[in-house]
């Protein structure tokens, strides 16, 4: 169960492979559910050219560890990994990775989505967008995670 805060760009697919190699045993897990959030070049109808992610060192990590502990209590997980970028970033760059490993798929799917929703509602991160006219604005709230039809 690992939480990482990255000050520079990270490759989520590399993070998954490295974590899997170092922490999991081949043949013991049957299901890996992952989610990667990537910076878009549009939001709320405007073009966005850069973003700065602020966090609360100490509290952010402990909140992420707490939500992982909650997921372990609820589902039979073999492992979970959360990586979150902070600092300045640009469109196309990964912001967050959540990965869950379990024997069967239901637990991996459920836990991955739970972690992502819990992270977005409880972990202290804040996004500030830079628009094309070089103006800045704080993102005020996250989009709904359950209405997609």
């Amino acid at each position: 169960m690992t939480v990482q805060i990255c000050k520079g760009a990270f490759d989520p697919w590399q993070s998954i492979q490295t974590h899997q190699r170092d922490n999991l045993t081949d043949g013991q897990y049957g299901a890996t559910a992952t989610f990667v959030g990537t910076m878009r070049d549009f939001n709320e109808g405007d073009d966005v050219c850069a973003m700065t992610l602020e966090h609360y060192p100490g509290m952010t990590e402990s909140q992420l560890e707490e939500i992982i502990a909650e997921s372990k209590a609820q589902w039979p997980l073999q492992d979970a990994l959360i990586v979150h970028r902070v600092g300045e970033m640009h469109p196309g760059e990964p912001i967050v990775l959540v990965a869950c490993w379990s024997a069967h798929r239901a637990a991996a799917f459920d836990a991955c989505r739970f972690l992502m929703e819990a992270l977005k509602s409880r972990a202290p991160f804040w996004k500030k967008e830079t628009l094309h006219d070089n103006s800045h604005r704080w993102v005020e709230k996250n989009t709904d995670g359950y209405s997609s039809h």
Partner: protein, 77 residues
């Protein structure tokens, strides 16, 4: 007694400071700390408060050496 107060994101910009150490009387609440540091600015409705990295309410009592934080709703992920 003394507490460490932190502000993040738009709250940090609004108040023009990110961190300060203040001396307070005993039996202070988080709301009391806000009044000391924010002067006449009422605490915005959606403010999130934390004491020692755990989410708190305006009524939460603070103790000597605590870290108290104020920030807007989180928008990570």
């Amino acid at each position: 007694m003394s507490v460490n107060v932190k502000f993040f994101a738009s709250m940090r910009e609004t108040l023009g400071q990110s961190e300060l150490q203040i001396d307070i009387d005993t039996n202070q609440t988080v709301a009391g700390i806000w009044s000391r540091v924010a002067k006449d600015l009422p605490m915005p409705d959606n403010t999130v408060c934390a004491v020692n990295h755990t989410q708190a309410t305006p009524e939460t009592l603070v103790s000597d050496g605590d870290e108290v934080a104020f920030f807007p709703p989180v928008t990570g992920g």
